[in-house]
Amino acid sequence: MSHHLVVRVVAKLLMPFIILFALYVQMHGDFGPGGGFQAGVIFASAFVLYALVYGMDAARKVLPDGALRIGLALGVLIYGGTGVLGLLLGGNFLDYSVLAHDPVHGQHYGIFAIEFGVGLTVASAMATIFFHFAGRGANLDEMEE
């Protein structure tokens, strides 16, 4: 895509807005439609666009495989860890009411952390799936042996 100057510039311009929209959907999940899952997909789509326009090598530099792997695992751990924290603070597993001085705030913090975990894992999973399918062409011969 190196000769499509318009596409390259527009893609670069759009990136921050896509990410911002993803973060909006993530944060707004408590009050309206949205939440971690949708936000994760939108977040990953910014990097999918980047990979489509600038190529896989450039995209991998931005999001290395190692970072994606950590993101995948960390999201689940944040979700589960929030549950365990509730357990350690004297509630049941995934009981957010005990996370703060009163149940209303506790529920708020709890769902916020959980949704963040979901968003992180979904974004990493989406990017990983795309990178694996897109990256397959280059070493297809290698895989066929």
Binding site: R69, I70, L72, A73, L74, V76, L77, G80, G81, G83, V84, G86, L87, G91, N92, F93, L94, D95, Y96, S97
Partner: protein, 494 residues
């Protein structure tokens, strides 16, 4: 404080250990981590069974939300018993895994195997422990997705096709179950199993309930690999890595049988399931067909893992047969076989894992003369085979005995005949392997430097084999719990 949270810990331990394995990323480190976690999960399930024995049903409110609105973990004798089986097999299998996984999957990808293994364990335990019908579906998908990954890690490229096929079948099965749950929700407005049990009875047998009943029966039959819909099972077990086969063969279909029992005894009352809907008659026919067809096809297999897989199809027939009688004795027999078959197939597939580790093949030709080179492994296979056939003093005998008693109690003499025919066929297919290993010389081109499998594999395998004999002699735990669970399900207080 810990004791009140045991039901949650049962799931959290393996579920959160799985992503930690991804972060640790070192083959040896993740192995030891997985071993510790699996044994801890086993300890938790043993404590849970003890507690259920002492005080009765345990309920745990997830997130502090009261049922039927929140998700509830509800443990009675039936699922405490299944939890113990699954976690015990999980712990023994992962202890056995290291040499086999290093060889078949490779040290650098080993951590992915343990991750998928722990997720699968968490999924299967979750299906068993939860008291929420939709939650069953979620955990069913966790365990299924991770088992597709486990199977696809097989060395043979056919593992990919086997895994894909299981994916298609498994998804159909789980979706049918979910459609059933959805229809029940539409009629009753609840997903809690205990609550469903009361409300389905109150609504009465209308069309929606009947359709839900049918969808769930088909879906669960696919997941449990009951005879006409068993096609995904043989290749999945044959081409999966040895360790994955051991674990899945000993647990995955058992958990589906558990869900079947839970659905038709707790959600739909057994009077409705087996009286009005005559589910027992349908399942009994398929169970007998499974016993005969599975055993017959097993006789003609040259790949021993595939042979054992077809034998599993037959053994699932035994379990469903017991359940389909819907009497205390029959249900006891079915649940006993669930426990016993896990031990039998665990031991047999572990022996095959050892053979594959040393010879790189599990075909009947590669077994020739192997008993001289791998005496302990082949002895374990013989012991497991005897248990599969149902020789007295082994677990296989105990469960078949209960099934026979149950059939006789109902005057189902024809079942008796088929049970004996299927056992005779088991003698044939087990004997083929024994004959090759003990009475045939090694084939001309066979490598001569084959040694006994390493200690790390032999010890867990022999623990499993000895359990086959221990529970064949001291049946207090297996028969005792199964009988009381059966009485509990049938509402027989005596």
């Amino acid at each position: 404080m810990i004791s009140t949270h045991l039901p949650a810990l049962q799931i959290i331990l393996p579920l959160l250990a799985a992503p930690l394995c991804v972060i640790l990323r070192n083959g040896t480190l993740t192995y030891w981590f997985a071993v510790v976690v699996a044994w801890l999960a086993f300890a938790v399930s043993a404590l849970l069974l003890q507690e259920v024995n002492a005080i009765g049903v345990i309920a745990y409110k997830l997130g502090g939300w009261a049922p039927p609105w929140g998700i509830e973990y509800r443990i009675d004798l039936l699922n405490a018993y299944v939890l113990l089986i699954v976690s015990a097999i999980g712990a023994l299998t992962v202890s056995y895994a290291k040499p086999s996984v290093d060889q078949e999957i490779g040290g650098d990808r080993g951590y992915l195997f343990y991750t998928a293994f722990l997720l699968c364990l968490a999924g299967l335990l979750g299906v068993t422990i939860t008291g929420d019908a939709f939650n069953i579906f979620v955990f069913l998908e966790i365990s299924s997705l991770s088992s597709y990954a486990l199977i696809a890690m097989g060395r043979d490229r056919r593992a990919l096709i086997a895994s894909y096929r299981y994916l298609v079948f498994g998804t159909i099965g789980a979706t049918f179950f979910l459609i059933g749950v959805g229809l029940l929700y539409q009629m009753t407005g609840t997903l809690n199993i205990a609550d469903l049990g009361e409300r389905v009875a109150a609504v009465g047998p209308n069309r929606t309930i009947t359709v839900a009943f049918g969808f769930m029966a088909v879906g669960l039959a696919v997941k449990a690999a009951l005879f006409p819909v068993h096609a995904w099972l043989p290749n999945a077990y044959a081409y999966a890595p040895s360790v994955a086969t051991i674990f899945l063969a000993a647990t995955a279909t058992k958990v589906s049988i558990y869900v079947l029992i839970r659905t038709y005894f707790t959600i739909f009352h057994h009077d409705f399931s087996f009286g009005v809907m005559a589910l027992g008659d349908i399942f009994m026919v398929f169970a007998v067909l499974a016993m005969l067809a599975g055993s017959a096809i097993a006789i003609f297999q040259t790949d021993i893992k595939r042979m054992l897989a077809y034998s599993s199809v037959a053994q699932i027939g035994y379990m469903v047969l017991g359940v389909s009688m819907a009497t205390v004795l029959g249900l006891t027999g079915g649940m006993l076989h669930l426990f016993n078959h896990a031990l039998i197939k665990g031991a047999l597939f572990m022996a095959m894992g050892c053979v594959f580790y040393r010879t790189g093949s599990v075909s009947i030709e590669s077994m020739r003369g192997l008993a001289a080179r791998m005496p302990w492994t082949m002895a374990a296979f013989v012991a497991g085979g005897m248990s599969l056939i149902g020789v007295p003093l082994t677990v296989g005998f105990v469960s078949k005995w209960y099934l026979l008693l149950a059939a006789m109690e109902q005057n189902l003499w024809w079942i008796l005949v088929f049970l004996i025919i299927a056992s005779l066929m088991a003698i044939i297919y087990v004997w083929r392997v024994v004959e090759a290993a003990y009475f045939m010389p090694s084939s001309a081109g066979a490598p001569t430097d084959i040694q006994e499998a390493p200690m790390a594999m032999l010890v867990p395998m022999w623990v499993m084999v000895l359990a086959n004999f221990y529970f064949g002699i001291d049946t207090k735990l297996s028969v005792g719990v199964a009988t009381r669970a059966a009485k509990f399900l049938l509402g027989d207080a005596s």
